[in-house]
Symmetry: C2
Subunit: 340 residues, 2 copies
């Protein structure tokens, strides 16, 4: 064993010199190509073992013109919903022989852009983006020069691109209809900023369900705004005040639901509660939390598949795919309004 100098790795050239063969012969052996005599191959293998050679894939990929890697840009990889998306994307990537870069935009359009551009500069083969920014035209040149981008959870703004979304409006319609079926007429909607696509769609679903049931919507029942707990807590409290409080609450995402649960825990009379997004332990609460659950695995898997279809040459129009949601009844939304 010739010890390699610390921090310096042997190259194919080193192996070739050691084995006394040409560089290309080493390449052939390393890549398992045919047409090398057993004797030559053996000499090369011996040199490889002696030097501890391992092919540098970054160099190989530079020559090849691809990087065999894709990037996933999330809101926050530390968030359970995001991380489930990541796992699904990773599974498809591995299946396709790709490695996965991940990055968190922290809901910051500027950071999203910087990260996306950094990934593009590395020449990732493609990108999956859960967008935070409000304008994605900066990606147009990248897409035009052959780097496909698929948007996940929210559509792109300002460019035409594939988007894989939950059926936000449909799921909410179904959920609100469920509340109505249990006798509720005054239903509150607590959402995040209405400029966010998912919130807007869920609100639309809420309004449609009410309209279909010929129920009026009092605008005071709709509380949208930032997701910070104090704001949400105030909004929930306000909906439950006055002579005609709402009898049911639809909380439009997981963080809002968690905050609302905390507020309601301190109350004797609790409205029916229906959350958008499932939560860990939801079935162990008292009562169990009824939710409109998204399917993060299907969302991530579909996004990755569409991306690889693009990478494999699919050139059709930008697609918009909606993944169904599922209403999971566990008790919190199956109580009627108080009598009288």
């Amino acid at each position: 064993m010739t010890p390699t100098r610390h921090g310096t790795r042997p190259t194919m050239n080193d192996v070739a010199a050691r084995a006394g063969v040409g560089l290309k012969t080493v390449s052939r052996v390393v890549n398992g190509e045919s047409g090398v005599t057993p004797a030559m191959a053996e000499r090369v293998r011996a040199a490889i073992a002696e030097l501890g050679f391992r092919r540098n894939d970054s160099a190989r990929l530079l020559r090849t013109g691809r990087t065999a890697s894709i990037a996933l840009l999330l809101e926050d990889i530390g968030d359970p919903f995001s991380s489930q998306l990541a796992r699904a994307v990773e599974d498809v990537a591995v299946e396709q022989g790709c490695l996965l870069f991940t990055g968190s935009s922290a809901e910051d359009g500027e950071r999203e852009r910087e990260l996306a551009m950094a990934f593009c500069a590395r020449r990732v083969d493609g990108l999956v983006i859960v967008p935070s920014g409000t304008d994605h035209s900066y990606l147009e040149p990248e897409i035009a020069s052959g780097t496909p981008v698929v948007f996940l959870d929210r559509p792109a703004a300002g460019i035409d691109a594939d988007a894989i979304l939950s059926d936000n409006a449909g799921g909410t319609r179904q959920g609100v209809a469920h509340l109505i079926r249990h006798g509720h007429r005054r239903i509150g909607f607590v959402g995040d900023l209405p400029g966010i696509h998912t919130c807007a769609e869920r609100l639309r679903g809420y309004r449609e369900a009410m309209a279909r049931a010929h129920l009026p919507v009092d605008e005071r029942w709709v509380a949208t705004g930032p997701t910070d707990p104090p704001r949400v807590a105030r909004a929930v409290a306000r909906l439950l005040e006055g002579p005609e409080p709402v009898t049911a609450l639809l909380t439009a995402n997981n963080r809002i639901t968690a905050t609302a649960l905390g507020v309601l825990a301190g109350r004797d009379v609790r409205p029916a509660l229906l959350g958008f997004d499932d939560l860990e332990l939801a079935e162990l609460l008292t009562p169990g939390l009824t939710v409109i659950a998204q399917d993060p695995a299907a969302l991530g898997r579909t996004a990755a598949r569409v991306l690889f279809e693009r990478l494999h040459g699919e050139t059709g129009q930008a697609r918009r795919i909606e993944i169904p949601t599922r209403l999971i009844a566990r008790g919190s939304a199956e109580t009627g309004p108080p009598a009288g």
Copy 2:
């Protein structure tokens, strides 16, 4: 605007030709180096804009000898604990100008090895690994040739390497002492496979706390095995059977705690419950779930920092750093044993 051919990106050479300057001048402008006359710089910038040139960082990095990327190998990026580690590692990586690869070993030593080797073949600057395998000697050549590896959550097996761990034994000691202080004498321990380092350490902490309080441990109180819910449910049920059931339960990780909660939910008489690992909504359960919480942000951050210290030339002995845990009392472990 000269439209670039679809899928083909302009290179510095293209820019140089278009601007009628040398390649090196383009490189200077692109990298903001000084010593270029304003007129030249302007011509280069114009050519860059016309062609839509963007530097290929993969090529640049090949020449430079580093990849400005690190890899994080987790058990499952989709698991909340893992994903919080990932976010912390990412934050440090970004701070250091590095991009982050992530991969999930799925608790499979072979897959861990394949992924780790794939990352090494890409010549990532360093690796953070939450190990699943039982032998990491395959990494020795990589480490020797200058790719630092830091182990996270569990130590390496078979090689000497940095390891960032939770204070598993200490945290459990503190938790069990807490139960003892509330009057418990018969305390059950439900863990996963005792071969897993974290389980072994937590079990050690349990035994030490009992010994310090001069309490005997009946081996029937210790139930270790696979984490699948049926096994855990049976184990919990058995501990609560018989004439002298345990009066308190320590569940040694988040999944076991979740399963135990489900089992206990169906019972009138519930033992005190203390979980290792915090859970979302833990404070909204009835009673609130008392836990020994790990600090995933500190774990991930510390691992990444140690890795970058190695990358910056730190060559001291392998370090083993323990991150403190925190006992969060919420009610489930603060009830004494039934009278009599």
